[in-house]
Symmetry: C2
């Protein structure tokens, strides 16, 4: 796969128009480049002195407003103009909303060295191999208790709880105190009491002076504590232990901690495992390579050998709990899976919540699965899933450990950030010490005393990946796609005699996605009349006729007529051939 970058003239003009001066010597600049007006495409730049440190580089999957687009990237325009100052790309953990942008962005920002923990590094490496990049990524492994020097700064790390191993927070020491970035975070609490490990990791803040906290806000609007992952493990262990038929557990391949546990439970209770899903297999293999998971070779069996084992000894790990059309579970559901046909004694565990936008697909999946008589366990009735992001009370604990002077909420839609900012105020950070950012906000902390959102704005237009191409999002394109997806289009072809100005033959009408014209002979005939009338009117003085104006009039007349008759607004493409 080769990545092309398109720079439109519009983009060039804009970038050139707003030069942002470097921060003054007494200033720490913080610029969220993605992830603060959405969930996903997380990326933040920290700049002071002559150095820029980049935190994470994720992408986001397409949304309703960006039909046909593959991914949305952070806008790295600010960094591209300051490549020489970038001292490193620091990655908190290996999820796509934190590493997904790397293959598309790395070259553009000057291929800085990537600093991250072992598993994350491997995951990044694996993805890079799928892209035919010219320059290979330069990855430097760090450990959570390591201290490194980058540019003029000292950088430290601390372990955090999320749903993938090797998740970490990042501490950047500045002359005015630490800038602390949590990455994605929850607590592995027991009735509200964080684990010993978490207490130990956050112990690092006992004697530190924290200038500013940058923190995940995804679930802070949810009251109380999140379900701790340990509860999920207990539930899943019981299900594995007690299953009397085949057990199919569907979850994200990225929930690697949980995958590791399930493999362990299966082995503990003498069961065999089928791993059905490429991303899942890849992740489990990486984890095994790194010693994060250990299992006997014969514990994992190939899906084609499934029938050789008694059903009550089989645990099938499957992808597709979000209803993804081509994933393992969807194929099981619609009976197109090559090796797995459901039986009424099968139990299916959907070990995931439903990502907004996927409800209909998941509903269809559940309908398909239950039609075949299988028993389905979801997180509604049983603790088979927990989010990787902490709720309000977990945020409270974290804030109390870090005790920041200033606060900038990250990771979430504006409303989520706002709720998090309100919480910080309740916990004692004065409102004036908090900034709720937008993507591209240039935030400055001066002399360690004052935080402001400056009037500058880093480039923040949406950049999107479509096929092989990275380009700036085109509003026109999106608007056209949305219209086409609802109303369709209609091409009208008129061949006109250039001397007489008369139509040569009956005009052609070709439509797709509009209404079924074949069933609407009367509508077709009337439209032909409209076309003839419009074109012959425009061409009544053939010599002086303006073909462009004639096309425009034709499109208008046809569109108006079709709207009136059908209440639909297809895009009308007028073709007039003058011969």
């Amino acid at each position: 796969m080769r990545v092309e970058h398109q720079t439109s003239s519009r983009e060039r003009a804009r970038t050139a128009a707003a030069p942002i001066p470097p921060p003054s010597a007494d200033t720490v600049r913080i610029i969220p480049l993605g992830g603060v007006e959405e969930i996903g495409r997380n990326m933040t730049a920290i700049e002071f002195g002559n150095d820029i440190f980049v935190l994470d580089c994720g992408f986001q999957f397409r949304e309703e407003e960006t039909p046909g687009v593959d991914y949305i990237l952070p806008n790295t325009g600010y960094l591209e103009e300051r490549r020489d100052k970038i001292r490193g790309l620091l990655i908190s953990h290996g999820h796509l909303d934190h590493i997904g942008g790397i293959p598309y962005v790395l070259d553009r920002i000057g291929n800085p060295t990537i600093y991250t923990r072992r598993l994350t590094g491997k995951m990044i490496q694996k993805r890079q191999e799928e892209f035919a990049q010219t320059t290979p990524a330069n990855i430097r492994e760090v450990e959570k208790d390591e201290v490194i020097k980058l540019g003029a700064a000292t950088i430290r790390f601390f372990g955090v709880t999320h749903t993938v191993p090797d998740s970490m927070g990042i501490i950047i020491e500045t002359p005015w105190g630490d800038v602390v970035f949590t990455g994605d975070i929850k607590l592995n609490h027991d009735n509200g009491q964080p684990s010993d490990e978490e207490v130990r990791e956050f112990g690092v803040f006992k004697n530190r002076k924290v200038l500013c906290l940058l923190m995940d806000s995804t679930n802070v609007w949810q009251p109380g504590f999140s379900i701790p992952e340990r509860n999920v493990y207990e539930t899943l262990e019981n299900i594995v232990k007690n299953s009397h038929g085949r057990l199919i557990i569907a979850m994200f391949a990225s929930h690697l901690e949980r995958l590791i546990r399930v493999v362990h439970f299966a082995e503990k209770y003498g069961k065999k495992i089928v791993i059905d899903g490429r991303s899942m297999r890849t992740n489990i293999e990486i984890a095994r390579e790194l010693g994060l998971i250990k299992y006997k070779d014969d514990t994992v069996v190939a899906v084609e050998n499934l029938a050789q084992y008694p059903p009550e000894r089989m645990v099938i790990l499957a992808t597709g709990a979000q209803g993804d059309e081509f994933a393992s579970l969807a194929r099981i559901g619609n009976k197109s899976h090559k090796y797995i046909r459901l039986q009424p004694t099968d139990t299916i565990v959907l070990s995931s919540s439903v990502i907004p936008g996927n409800e209909r697909a998941v509903q269809k999946l559940k309908d398909n699965l239950s039609r075949q008589g299988a028993h389905i366990i979801t997180y509604h009735a049983s603790d088979v899933h927990a989010s990787g992001h902490g709720n309000r009370e977990e945020a409270v604990w974290i804030h109390k450990q870090v005790k920041p002077k200033f606060f900038v909420p990250l990771h979430g839609y504006h409303y989520m950030l706002r709720v998090h900012a309100d919480l910080a105020e309740e916990l004692g950070v004065p409102a004036a010490n908090t900034v709720v950012p937008d993507n591209g906000s240039v935030i400055e902390i001066t002399k360690g005393e004052k935080i402001v959102k400056t009037n500058h704005k880093a480039p923040s237009e949406l950049r999107v990946v479509e096929g092989h191409t990275v380009s700036e999002l085109s509003d026109v394109l999106m608007r056209d796609r949305k219209a086409l997806g609802q109303e369709g289009f209609c091409v009208v072809v008129a061949t006109v005699d250039r001397r007489s100005g008369r139509l040569h033959k009956s005009p052609d009408i070709i439509s797709r996605g509009f209404v079924y014209l074949r069933d609407n002979k009367e509508l077709m005939d009337q439209t032909r009349l409209i076309i003839r009338k419009s074109v012959e009117q425009s061409m009544r003085n053939p010599r002086s006729a303006d073909l462009d104006a004639a096309r425009e009039d034709l499109a208008d007349s046809v569109a108006r007529f079709l709207l009136q008759r059908t209440m639909k607004r297809p895009i009308v493409i007028p073709v007039i051939v003058s011969i």
Copy 2:
């Protein structure tokens, strides 16, 4: 508004192909015509002897799979062929998923008399007035303790708890016992204990012999009890009582019970009300007309007079809690509301959950509102909303009152019906006495002893409303719209000399929703070469050339080339004009 019905030849052929004989004399036939493979468009036919009784007539809003469609209707083909046997259309309550189909369907099924309670009748009437129907609806009001004779049957009603007043269940007496239909239902319980009124209403089943229960399954998959509406009232009362700034409460206009309560609370605490939303105003007016709500004339003030009152005395009832683009709350959010500009002292209550599919719109709404500093209260952190459908334990209580011999779960996706069927089995209905239906399933209970899903199937193709037209859903149309919404289209126009077989001039390329061709001059030029090559190849023997084949080849060549270059699959429309 005039409604046209289109009958495609396909539809006519299919209907004619599968004649279903009338039920034999000892049989009760039950046919769910909509609402059992989806949430919405509820409609069920009960047939025995020479009579058909139709229960509800809803519609469903469009789904991801039906882009551009306005509404989806139940397929009434079965009823249309048996109009003479229809004794009445019985409506359980006034929500659109139970009455929305009436204006589109009533004529087609022979304009049967509608039997329903007072408020529901008014709501149906109000909607009918928006349609220029030839025949007016014939509505006969019934009360919940009324007993009516229709055809050879006796019909009774009972009051049920839902979120709109005058909700009722329906009892159809057959020679073998009652067919009982609950409509939408939850319990107004107090810690799991149903209200006295509910105990009284269900008392009717003490001495009845229930042949078959047909029941709402929407939330039966949720464990425990739902939040009772009384908790929501308490929460809202407290919020109204204690608000120190303007209070904006957004909810469905159809949650009429709750609207009535909020108006009452406002008056109780000396506040004024603005009703901002047409549907809300209509519903409150109907309720007032019928005496379901009483308030002083000067309690409700016009939105344009809002500024005349102190903020802490204002309660604004607004539509648009689902993020609907043109509703009151969205206009407040994007600052386009004519009279309401948010202030940081305003509180906004979103008294609704988020309907699947609306998450993104609601998120955007919350972002817009919180950007203006208003405080937002949602159901996540506070009991400001409860569903109108009961959870599992409420279903348990209802089943125990009704004690049916046979059971057919209605209202829900297949998975939900399946969960409800499993519950019925746990409660003592043998598995053989339950049928989980599909839309169009012809279910028969014979001699009151045996229930079967027969091999017959009533017409069940999706019928959709688009603009003025009701027609059968076209798979091709939907597929084209989905493709166009992602990939766009491309029209290529080649003018070819009929004698030489050569292109007359450089071909034209017009695209929309594909990629930005203007930014892709190289791609344009290469595509032109491909067009020229393909057409001239097809036309190399101009006399014997097949224009249709030439068009097909042209589309193929261009599509293949564009896919390879862009990874996009636009719909390619080839236009070859031979002159």
